[in-house]
Amino acid sequence: MSRKLLLEHINVPGINTLDVYRQKGGYRAVEKALKTLTPEEIVEEVKKSGLRGRGGAGFPTGMKWSFLAKPEGVARYLVCNADESEPGTFKDRYLMTHIPHALIEGMIVSSFALGAKVSYIYVRGEMMPQIRILERAIAEAKAAGWLGKNILGTGYDLELYVQPGGGAYICGEETALLESLEGKRGNPRIKPPFPAIAGLYGCPTVVNNVESIAAVVPIINDGGEEYAKIGIGRSTGTKLISASGNLVKPGVYEIELGLPVEEFIYSDEYCGGIANGKRLKATVAGGSSVPVLPANLTLKYANGEPRLMSYESLSEGGFATGTMLGSGGFIAFDEDQCMVRNTWNFARFYHHESCGQCSPCREGTGWMEKILHKIEHGHGSMDDVDLLWDVQRKIEGNTICPLGDAAAWPVASAIRHFRDEFEWHIKEPVKSQQQNYGLANYANPIEKAPVTEEK
């Protein structure tokens, strides 16, 4: 069994309540941080831990914190990004539902480290049940003196509020999130200035993902150096992976970074293999925005070495033969899935979610959706594949925020690795409406679970 830092007590009855959470050692990190550490020392521990942002970008959290401007007499804010909307990702919902106090504890420690007196948790609006859970947990924590005025008699004051979104994927982008929190449309801001200088209400602000903030708790309890011992290379610690698609056991798993991808998919400790005895065709390893890979490149590098679940290993080979860890949204496609249909589905998603601010994204995502719809429904021509490639090239890198790239990459990678399947849809317009292409001829998936279990 791998080490669990965030989900260790997930199955303890009542762990969503303050009492049980306390019995399992909860809020120790708040005591330690507020009574024995200075804000600078906490930032230092987070730097030492090597923790990288768990929302998708993977930027070192400690470094992000150290960029925060601290002008005299100006408020500073910590905003938690709980706008989890990346298709394939549902770890934050899981964590907030079952262990809300882990996030609240992390928020208190992190707010103290950053000097924030008011902090917000921006939760996507659809998660009303989770908003109710968090508000109840905050009330419990406040009644017990973990929030409010003069916490633990240290003179530190903190108010924590939950803010609902309104249903917009774009608000997961940190500057769009801040706009939304200010009561506006979620249009991303032009950077610089970065939120660390001018964020919420123009004040210095740090925006961190739910899982990043929750990870601060074990880092403070055990020390940054201990945390950095887990994992592999620059991918330190544990990561929550949301596993979905055609798997025997989809769900949220906490893994030590560096776990072989093959073990993650096929071992009974994790996903237990592909559902219904089918074979793996392709995966999207880090949420819908990262490149899709055929089964063979998912499990191994182009040179045949095994691929691991880590930031570096998943991106080995660049976009030619690799992908990204992203938010850890792991989607598995079995041999019956149609890559054209799925790519069309994702393109529709990005078209729907584009905020409309930048022309390449606003227009380009619509073009991609239309072209893919045409190919999927048997009306495509060979020129369409090239046109699709051309459109995605013109979106990537030409927009204010990364949504443009996120829309372009799934299309580009699908053409790169599954071009045969796109061409088959065009050459066989009738047949492709009645049956699926099946396994790509260059995917070389594993027949049955080959991993031997550790005893």
């Binding site: 659809e126 009303m128 309104g166 589905n345």
Partner: protein, 170 residues
Amino acid sequence: MLKVEEQTPVVFSSELLAKFDDIKSRYPEGKQKSALLPLLHLVQAEYLWVPTSAMDQVAAYLNIQPIEVYEVATFYTMYFLKPQGKYALEVCRTGPCCLVGAEKILDHLAHKLGVKEGEVTADGLFSFRGVECLAACGFGPVLQISPEYTFYENLTTESVDKLIEDLKNK
């Protein structure tokens, strides 16, 4: 004025206004516009949609222009700008849910309720629509029902039938 379906102007209850006050107190002085999204959710929970007259009153309450409310209400997908069924069913239609049968659930709902996406059943009880990823991909297909946003996971056509019967008899 925003061109939407209109009814007689709504009047906010004192309970609703008390909730408004509580939310407004969460933000610094002069930044009360931050309350806009939460307030619109409260309005929708009360009326099951967001009438224009309610938007105008929210604007007045927050001391902002009506257009600032309209542009937000039309940008975010959760706000209904026309009346829905008493139970507005929203089914996730994004990639991972489709791998496990979400499209079949949407087709089934249209058939079962006898209405198209976005329409309300004759008895006023139900409407449905496909929405983008609800962040529950491992438990798909999923649907949620506003205004409580209760969640139903691992849907089958049978479980959807049962859910609809249960709601009818509620």
